[in-house]
């Protein structure tokens, strides 16, 4: 009976560490699971987001580099944290990755790391491209062709990809410092190059790339948030594209509005200062729908929103984005980071 006494008293005093951890969410894994639970259960509650603002930190970014990022179409990926990535080794990574690409392009043929290939890989940081000080530094990877002619030393850019994290607090909190969290990856260039670079990253830093698609729900959020941005001058009309699934070819409905009209509509539905709420987004879209219905007798709410373009940026449901406005660059990226984090949770 003695033994029973002991066992009876143990649970009274304390359950073991794992049980404890479980219910307090002490270990990183537990924390992750907790946040997944939260996300899953709160998905239906209407969120609120701040109206896009220009980040102070963004001012430090090299304007030439920013210009390079704008007006290009990027394919979006979400990326799990990089294990043992170090910003001090970027040169080394360039060497290794270029050798890897060379080896992949000529399967079976070994190549020396650091050998002179007809391509060059450059890793460089995008200093200041972050939302808060805690966000890790964004960085850029470029594949350049080496041109024969000596006058153009830089060579032609074949492929570009960049990794960033803007206001990634929710992810940063749950991950230890052995990881570098850059949940958003944007690529421009041949898909085959993206594949090679992605494979190298996955092998080297034990991370995982998945294509980031944007749901119609998130597209309407983008439409509302981007319309709400104060612009000095508009460079493009606000345009929506809906897709009607029908055979043999799907029918696309394009709906273009003068950006100032769109802004006026937004101002009329917008109440909460500094914030965008779910009701406002719904109301904004509903107004557009009813306007369209009045003219064409088509219920757009029954179709699928596939693309939104404004003067700030344009986004396609396939996970393609083009950012036009320098001022709201980080704002757009912050929302994309949020979506990427949601996908990897």
């Amino acid at each position: 009976m003695d033994s029973y006494d002991r066992s009876e008293s143990t649970p009274e005093q304390s359950a073991s560490s794992r049980l404890k951890n479980y219910l307090t969410g002490a270990t990183p894994l537990q924390k992750r699971l907790e946040s997944v639970k939260k996300q899953t259960s709160f998905v239906l509650t209407p969120p609120q987001r701040k109206i896009l603002q220009c980040s102070q930190l963004q001012e430090d970014v090299d304007p030439q580099k920013v210009a390079f990022l704008l007006h290009k179409q990027w394919t979006l990926y979400s990326l799990t944290p990089l294990h043992k990535f170090s910003y001090t080794n970027l040169k080394e990574y360039s060497r290794l990755l270029s050798a890897f690409i060379a080896a992949e392009k000529q399967k079976g043929l070994a190549v020396e790391v650091g050998e002179d290939f007809n391509i060059r890989v450059i890793f460089s940081t995008l200093l200041g491209m972050k939302g808060t000080q805690r966000d890790p530094e964004a960085f850029l990877v470029q594949i350049l062709s080496k041109s024969q002619s000596s006058e153009n030393r830089e060579g032609k850019v074949l492929w570009t990809g960049w990794f960033c994290c803007i206001f990634g607090d929710s992810l940063l909190e749950t991950v230890s410092e052995d990881f570098t969290c850059l949940p958003l990856f944007l690529a421009n260039g041949a898909e085959s190059n993206t594949a090679i670079v992605g494979t190298w990253f996955q092998k080297t830093f034990d991370c995982y790339f998945s294509p980031l698609v944007i749901s119609a729900f998130n597209l309407s959020w983008m439409a509302a948030m981007w319309t709400a941005c104060k612009m000095d001058h508009y460079v493009a009309t606000t345009e929506f594209l809906w897709s009607v699934p029908c055979s043999p070819q799907s029918l696309d409905i394009s709906y273009a509005i003068h950006p100032e009209d769109a802004k006026a509509l937004w101002d009329s539905v917008h109440k909460t200062p500094g914030e965008v709420t779910q009701e406002e987004v719904d109301l904004f879209m509903d107004c557009l729908y009813s306007h369209f219905h009045r003219h064409f007798k088509i219920h757009l709410s029954a179709t699928r929103l596939v693309r939104v373009s404004t003067s700030v940026a344009s986004a396609h449901t396939d996970g393609k984005i083009k950012i036009l406005c320098h001022k709201y660059l980080t704002g757009v990226l912050a929302y994309l980071t949020e979506l990427a984090i949601f996908q990897i949770e």
Binding site: E8, A15, S41, H83, G108, A110, E115, T204
Partner: protein
């Protein structure tokens, strides 16, 4: 000063030269002395395996071999016809002995010398080399000496090739390889010879250690590659170099699998097999000549991965990236054990302190040894890497989560199977799977990968039930109620397994003494509360299901299986918890038309009794602990069930209390006398047993008198029931009914 040192060093050189000379002479002297006795002892050893009358022949052959070896050692005296004949005779002798029993290390030493020194013609050399079959081992010295002959240039190209092939084939039989490894540079230089290159590559492949991989060698190999194109042997060596020094070289393999080396062993295949048998246990498995990716790779589907689970690779990539390695790193890296070399559990135990982690943590899923390892190191970082990989892969591969890749359904279910295998192996669920279920269970059709999904449910790690219920179990309930009876049974089955996993885990946990107690920890009470909520949930599902499926026996079996687990929690898992089944289960089971259901119910009631008595006993022993005292309600409830059962099965007085049936209804049903009509004889499921029992007694009887089963006959009837396999009933009656009350 200067000239003196030169003189000294010259002297020293001289001395070493002399030394080596003298050693050589001594060695040969020793050889001559030892030759006879040694070969004899070996032959004697060989004799043991032979039939007796062969012995004489063998002895003779042994002597002949001595003479033959001696003859070869002396070299050809003159070339004449008779000389050729003697040569042929001696060669035959050597060949015969070699292919029969193999040659002693000393004999091989001498003959190798002969073959490579070019004393005889090419044909003879070839024949000698072909029969260099070791009886046991080949000494390293012989190989070193033989290699030194290669530098002299006395042997032809074909002899060299044959020698290399021999060396590769016999590699495992060489007693040491340190000296041979020192000749690495020499072998490497031989790569330039086009004819030798494939064989030298193979030899280097066998010899290469990490310290042999040098940038200048990498460059040389790449030059060769540039000259000769992608030769498989070069590719293999380069791949090996890459695995040692990924920062120096990059190779990627073509998708098709390939054999990298020509089989050099062919010539000696049977002899090698025999030698291995002789040395049983001494030599390792024959070396596989295919490299890593020869593991069958499915077609490349998308850029993310060749197969869902990544291939095992050591993490040297990232390690070498930090250019400045500290001293301790250097020391560590020398002693570290790459995961891809891990073959068996013994190796794991020997290298557990220095085992490298794979570069992609997902690869552990297909390797049980590494699963063991990550499970016992319990490193959060490792688990987190695994978590990220598994979560994303599940999400990416899930066929209905991503609507557009239906064609990979089979692959996905195979992947789930390998996850479940790993979970069963570790006896532990993965958090990634739990998170995955949260996300995708609401979207699940209940059909796709059904068995895998339900197994994943049963491996959900222990957690707070109220928290998980809205995320998971509410969705499961919706599917449960709207699906077929088979689905319902499968769900109940997996919930039973879930309960069992939780209980096992809790009971292990409770009895582990924690090192530090913190104020934040949860009490056992909270955990038990979670378990009892799970049981209540299953009770609720079952009650409704029984009604939906109109008391299906099949379903009741699965429900009672669940309660068989529940009723024994206190005794089997030593946890202070007893939860009874709801009346919605109890009554349909009690009045089931199937005797096996009644039997199972009796067994469960019997186990509840055991558990409750044990609990009572413990409570009496320690009055102070009040938290886990069972409320009187449970005892009352149990007693109510018990009296009902005794009333219905034994005393024919069902529903003494708590149930009123309108007499008019009973009259209508023709059972006004119901109070006497319900016992072990008249119970719907036992009625047929009673009839058979009576027929057995008096087979001629046209009518059976049921009421005759009483008194002594009642006891016989009971024995009859027990003999028909109703063991649960037996246990129940033995424990819950005092036999004095036989009606």
């Amino acid at each position: 000063m200067l000239p003196q040192t030169t003189v000294k060093s010259f002297q020293a050189q001289n001395r070493t030269l002399q030394g080596s000379n003298s050693r050589q002479t001594k060695l040969s002297a020793w050889k001559i002395k030892q030759d006879l006795s040694n070969s004899k002892s070996i032959l004697k050893h060989g004799q043991n395996n032979l039939v007796e009358d062969c012995g004489h022949d063998d002895d003779q052959a042994g002597d002949a071999l001595q003479i033959a070896v001696g003859y070869f050692e002396k070299g050809p005296i003159k070339t004449s016809w008779s000389e050729n004949k003697t040569l042929e005779r001696h060669l035959k002798t050597v060949e015969n002995v070699a292919w029969k029993n193999g040659l002693a290390p000393e004999e091989i030493d001498i003959l190798l010398n002969v073959a490579l020194s070019g004393k005889f013609g090419n044909a003879v050399n070839t024949r000698i080399l072909k029969c260099m079959i070791p009886a046991t081992l080949v000494s390293e010295d012989s190989v070193v000496k033989a290699v030194s002959w290669l530098c002299v240039g006395k042997c032809s190209g074909s002899t060299k090739v044959l020698f290399y092939r021999w060396l590769i084939a016999m590699f495992d039989f060489i007693d040491h390889k340190e000296q041979i490894n020192l000749l690495y540079g020499f072998f490497f230089a031989s790569l330039q010879d086009d004819a030798l290159c494939p064989y030298v590559c193979h030899l280097l492949y066998l010899l290469t250690k990490k310290e042999n991989v040098k940038p200048f060698r990498v460059r040389k190999l790449l030059d060769l590659q540039a000259k000769m194109g992608t030769q498989p042997h070069l590719q293999a060596l380069l791949l090996l170099y890459k695995s040692f020094a990924p920062t120096l070289i990059s190779v990627s393999l073509p998708v098709r699998k390939k054999i990298y080396f020509k089989n050099s062993e062919n010539l000696w295949k049977t002899a090698l097999f025999a030698a291995r048998q002789r040395n049983q246990g001494l030599s390792p498995e024959p070396l596989k000549l295919m490299l890593g990716p020869a593991k069958v790779r499915p077609l490349k589907r998308k850029w993310n991965s060749q197969s869902i689970i990544p291939l095992l690779n050591s993490s040297s990539y990232t390690k070498e990236c930090g250019k400045k390695m500290s001293l301790s790193d250097c020391l560590n890296s020398n002693g570290s054990f790459p995961p891809e070399q891990l073959q068996n559990f013994r190796q794991l135990l020997q290298n557990i302190h220095c085992l490298e982690l794979p570069s992609q943590m997902g690869s552990v899923l297909s390797n049980s040894l590494l699963l063991h390892y990550i499970n016992c190191v319990r490193d959060e970082l490792v688990l987190l890497r695994f978590y990220f990989w598994l979560s994303q892969t599940l999400q990416e591969e899930c066929i209905w989560y991503k609507v557009n890749n239906y064609e990979h359904g089979k692959e996905f279910s195979n992947f789930l199977d390998s996850i479940i295998r790993a979970e069963c192996f570790l006896q532990e669920g993965f958090y990634s799977c739990e998170a995955f279920l949260y996300k995708c269970l609401p979207l699940w059709d209940g059909f796709c990968c059904q068995s895998q999904f339900l197994q994943l449910v049963s491996w959900i790690p222990f957690s707070n039930f109220s928290e998980v219920k809205p995320l998971l179990f509410d969705h499961l309930a919706q599917l449960f109620f709207t699906s077929t009876i088979y689905f319902k049974c499968s769900v109940l089955q997996s919930l039973k397994e879930l309960l069992q996993n939780w209980l096992l885990w809790l009971s292990m946990d409770v009895h582990r003494k924690p090192v530090i107690s913190s104020p934040l920890e949860t009490t056992l009470g909270e955990s038990l509360n979670s378990v009892s909520k799970l049981i209540d949930y299953v009770g609720w599902l079952s009650t409704t299901a029984v009604r939906l499926e109109s008391n299906s026996t099949f379903l009741l079996h699965f429900i009672l299986d669940f309660y068989e687990k529940v009723c024994d929690i206190h005794i089997n898992y030593n946890l202070p918890l007893v939860v009874l089944f709801p009346p919605g289960i109890f009554f349909p089971a009690l009045f089931s038309l199937d005797a096996s259901i009644l039997n199972q119910l009796c067994y469960i009631m019997h186990r509840y009794r055991q558990n409750l008595t044990a609990a009572k006993k413990n409570e009496l022993l320690q009055k102070a602990k009040s938290e886990f005292n069972f409320s009187n309600k449970i005892y009352q409830e149990y007693n109510y069930y018990l009296t009902t059962m005794v009333g219905c099965l034994w005393t024919s007085k069902p529903f003494e209390k708590g149930m009123h049936i309108d007499p008019k209804i009973l009259e209508k049903a023709g059972v006004a006398e119901y109070k006497e009509s319900l016992n072990l004889v008249y119970h719907p499921s036992l009625f047929s047993y009673a009839v058979f029992f009576l027929l057995q007694e008096s087979p001629e009887e046209r009518t059976v008198n049921m009421s005759s089963i009483r008194g002594k006959k009642w006891n016989w009837y009971l024995d009859y029931l027990f003999s028909e396999g109703l063991q649960g009933l037996k246990l129940f009656i033995r424990s819950s009914i005092h036999r004095s009350s036989v009606p």
